[in-house]
Symmetry: C2
Subunit: 310 residues, 2 copies
């Protein structure tokens, strides 16, 4: 298999919002990109998407040699994957289509090249059933827009071999992404489960006339949303406990988990769960005390507010 640092060409299959976002990201990181999409206007759509993203990518900082001209839209799938050291599939979310497309990509791609799917909805175990060589098929799930949001969730299916998961994670890290490698398949992976829990509660509230769309968005952008680029939900609540951190927070506010604050019931706050949360926060804090984390949070929120005001 090619080392992540040896890859110079990436194939992107599918040229929608996500596929096009990947194209823009890889171009900005200095790669040659070969893209294929069966839609007749794929080349035009891709070039408009890349043009629209390029000023942002330039401001973030381009890699040496990065150039929109490094994009080739090919007439066939085989031309796209030929010579590519990594393949990113971003086709529509239809299981039969994904199954067959992954099999088709697999058939024309050298067997040591990892093929990653951007799917948000399917497990690789479901999708790799038709491919002849399923061991190098992985999920590499990005967030919109893939050229700006760093997160990629990487997980294999039952037939995926560990080297493929490791190679995909290493390659994504090499191209500047933040990678979470999951050791098991979970519907919605991690970030979408969290996001979707919030979204479903929001839909219930709108359906019941409890809140408007605008109130929901304002509640997030002017409220907890300002903390979330800084500290995730766990570390945020670590600070809500004062000097006692997550331990105090759970011991003190634990009973509120019984309150009907959302339609989702909370799990039982067993000593095991309590300790897992406390130890996880301590590990994440990595020696930073509460006062230090608060100072970091405050500085970051102010920086965000000043940045958004401009």
């Amino acid at each position: 298999m090619p080392e992540p640092t040896e890859v110079d060409t990436v194939a992107c299959v599918g040229a929608g919002v996500i596929g096009g976002g990947w194209v823009a990201h890889f171009l900005a990181r200095g790669y040659r990109v070969r893209a294929w999409d069966p839609a007749p206007d794929a080349a035009g759509k891709l070039s408009r998407l890349v043009d629209a993203a390029w000023p942002a990518l330039t401001e973030l900082g381009l890699a040496d040699g990065a150039d929109p001209a490094n994009l080739t839209v090919t007439g066939t799938l085989a031309e796209a994957v030929g010579g590519a050291g990594f393949v990113q599939e971003s086709a529509p979310e239809k299981l039969d289509l994904k199954r067959q497309l992954l099999a088709d990509i697999d058939a024309v791609t050298p067997s040591d090249v990892v093929i990653a799917s951007s799917t948000s909805g399917f497990s690789m175990t479901e999708m790799q059933t038709v491919a002849a060589n399923p061991k190098r098929l992985v999920v590499g799930h990005p967030f919109n827009p893939p050229y700006l949001i760093p997160l990629v969730e990487v997980v294999g299916g039952e037939l995926t071999e560990p080297w493929a998961v490791e190679t995909a994670a290493a390659f994504y890290r090499h191209v500047g992404k933040s990678v979470i490698t999951m050791d098991r398949e979970l519907p919605g992976f991690i970030a979408n489960r969290l996001q979707e829990a919030l979204w479903r509660e929001a839909l219930h509230m709108v359906a019941n006339g409890e809140a408007t769309v605008e109130q929901i968005d304002t509640a997030i952008t002017e409220g907890p949303g300002l903390r979330w680029p800084v500290h995730g939900p766990c570390l945020t609540f670590h600070l809500a406990g004062g000097e006692g951190g997550m331990a105090h927070m759970l011991d003190h506010f634990g009973p509120s988990l019984k309150e009907p604050w959302t339609r989702l019931e909370a799990p039982e706050l067993t000593p095991e769960l309590r300790n897992r949360m406390v130890e996880g926060c301590d590990a994440e804090a990595g020696g930073r005390g509460i006062a230090e984390l608060i100072a970091e949070r405050d500085a970051a929120i102010i920086a965000i507010q000043r940045a958004l005001r401009r």
Copy 2:
């Protein structure tokens, strides 16, 4: 009742993390603050909290005359509320305590002054049962830290009169907060319901070994959390639908609401709910097309990333 613009002194009852955060906010907005807390070390705790927050508040921009020396910690509740044009109560989340404390504050506060509770857990209907003059008691629920996060959720109880809710909302806006006025009581209000839905799903995942604390926090800070200070969850998904916006998103991804992506089941996507979401997003977008919103989002995410990198 005093006009919001005529208030020059605010009483803060309770000097914990939230009460102290309010004290810092009102001081930074140029108010005289009179604080009372029965704890013996209240004055020392408050002064440390204000000192810790002051550099951040200075950087955000102080109002004319803002000075930590404008804080007076009083020996009695009556001294704190005497002369105050607005009262903010931030006592511990214990219902009996809140009920009696609000009755005590009510007994010594001029009847035209609004008394707001920072409660996150109780409705004003539950809390206003003991007070002699419950009509001016409202919930004014802030987010931690109250001196940085703009959101305040304002809602009255069954015995609250509309002028009290309107006065509280107007006063909070005058002191620089973003206000959501709710026309009905709802456990967890709006923002905490959304945040709590995500938090409960996170606790389930940790309890079941599906994700670690660090994976959950990374999933948010490196993923959707970067979008949420810019666009709330509804407008975010408005953009996920491409040029078709929320309408296309719901028509296209609606079936995923049936997927087990969180433990919370979604509501039925009726035509009414679909239209309410679409119309809400259109109203929020206020004439800005998808391309414009995308450009705005990208610029904001880049600004946030640059701000956090410093």
